[in-house]
Symmetry: none
Subunit: 192 residues, 4 copies
DNA sequence: AATGAATGAGATTTCATTCAT
DNA sequence: CATGAATGAAATCTCATTCAT
């Protein structure tokens, strides 16, 4: 449904412009060029709009990790690709994440506790998928023995570190150009 | 002023109980056992209460990085200590961060854009302080040549990774018991 | 817009009943039989409602002085007619003015200083229009040489004197029956 | 009691500065350099302060009309003196009346209806006193036969007309310099 | 399906007044 | 007498949601 997308896009634009706080139904309707009542034809509530927006991002995340997992390659190569895909995803939405923050789990602070939990869990699922690649890498002996989930969380955090630098303007080069460096950092650390 | 602390503490308790969203002035007053009007005797607005709360955390962060910096030791040792202090800080407030998230910058999503900027900047200052230790480590040749800020952001992200695991219940051991592991991870990565 | 008028009328009724002080938004909404929120659909603020009410009166005043000015007659005749029209205006709204007072400028004491200034100025414009008729009367030699504005202010004050008497119950006859007397008083004073 | 006067004076200063609307107890206490609680040692309520302020003015008015009445002179002479005294009174307090308006009766719009009535009545008493002089003037045949109260109200209105011009800056000469003109206007009107 | 006027619960904030010190 | 921290009732205004058209 095109209208639904219009509305979500309108919210994104508003978020880019003024952050997520204090967005009103009026504002969304105006930006989406629909009547206020129309919002409620496509969404149960205003909160529901935010949830859909976040779920869209989560879906993209799921797709991207599946893509990396599904490839026929060494686990380390898969990790490298995941990094690249993830960075591309963030780069594409950099303006939104600039006001939203990178950690979809925490973003949901603006939501009620119940809804939030559901989003958080979905978010963990993605990390769990990453952990499976890590587990494979351990099996392949390219990564040392460790709790795979731990390895996944650390990897995602390092990626977020670079997204954060990009977002806050420490870095202006496109994010995915850092993919190789991130993988190396992850594998070998900062020591010499 | 004791009342001021009471109020901040009341807010923390409420955050632990139900997250930061939808906290009302009534609720804070009730929890702090003061009249609603009293809130406005000590704070300019409800938002101001949140800001003070976050600033308290930032202040703790500043202190802790200064402490690590100020020690007479090798830079790598200082980094290790910073990790330890930071983990202790998060451990102490683990319940609050459970609903608040670790990244104080983004938490401020609930605030107006202006105030938020100020908090974010203060947050960066802390990372900048960490970057100075990293720079020292580079000079001491224990860390390879790299942008020190980059090294600092990555370190902080890895710490957050562990805090996140603790918060979400993947891990139940006290956070600072991971300090050594984190330093090792940071220095040598996950590879074998 | 009918609702807007309803609201203004509701305020008038309340003013008649209990004066202008301490009128609440709740009260207006109840009297106008609309929801409280509806007030803010038609007016920016509660103060804005009062301003509109006063502006309505000012508009009536403007119309009435224009009417007198525009007539084809000797200036003194025009002054007589202005007196008559003005008295009719006050008579029509006598209940409201009973609690509001006659001097719209001062009524605005209940408003913020900025808005008040604008209303005052508009009020002066009306007197300025009267002064033009006085100037014409001076030219026609029916009024002796004097500052026309002075003549206008005095005339308006005398009119207010009679409105005041009517309002306070010294006088119960309809105001406009005094028109001739007022003109005579204005022209010839109280001496013999 | 000196404190009481301090407080009243503080209110006057505030009125001069920002009008009568929105004056808070805090503000009065600050301006009077006493604690907020002290206000309630000398006045029953905030409203009571305003009432005292207005009553002070009324008292001055009473005194001044008594003075004029009590003089040994022709009634017309007494009226002239009343005009002069009244103008001096307004001149002395011109800054306050600039924001308060001249008609003490209406000023009390900011007060509750009961208190207001009492002030209004006291205000009428003054006019009644003037009317006695007018009555005398009628007896002395210097004023034509008329309802003395009517004559008094008209006189007072004309005085107010000049005060108004002074207040609004049409006139900058001291008010009492107009006394003669006003008497003449009152006695002989504006006609030639 | 779409609209947008109307709603009213509920949130924030103010401020006159009290009272323990 | 004097203070000023604390109170809490009450006021303004917002905004998600509904529903008749």
């Amino acid at each position: 449904m095109a209208k639904k997308k219009n509305i979500i896009d309108a919210v994104k634009k508003i978020i880019v412009r003024k952050g997520i706080r204090g967005i009103t139904a009026d504002e969304i309707a105006r930006e989406a060029k629909v009547a206020k009542g129309t919002l409620y034809l496509y969404f149960k509530s205003k909160e529901d709009i935010f949830i859909c927006l976040l779920e869209d991002f989560l879906r993209e995340g799921e797709v991207l990790v599946e893509k990396a997992s599904g490839e026929r390659a060494a686990a380390v190569k898969k990790l490298g690709n995941f990094i690249k895909y993830d960075l591309k995803f963030y780069e594409k939405n950099v303006k939104v994440f600039k006001t939203l923050g990178t950690d979809l789990g925490w973003v949901s602070n603006v939501l009620g506790t119940e809804k939030r939990k559901r989003l958080m869990e979905r978010h963990f699922e993605i990390i769990k998928s990453v952990s499976k690649i890590v587990a494979a890498a351990i099996k392949e002996k390219s990564v040392r023995k460790m709790e795979p989930m731990e390895g996944a969380v650390v990897l995602v955090s390092i990626i977020h570190a670079y997204v954060g630098m990009r977002i806050h303007g420490f870095e202006n080069t496109p994010l995915h150009s850092h993919a190789g460096k991130i993988l190396k950092l992850y594998m070998a650390g900062v020591g010499r």
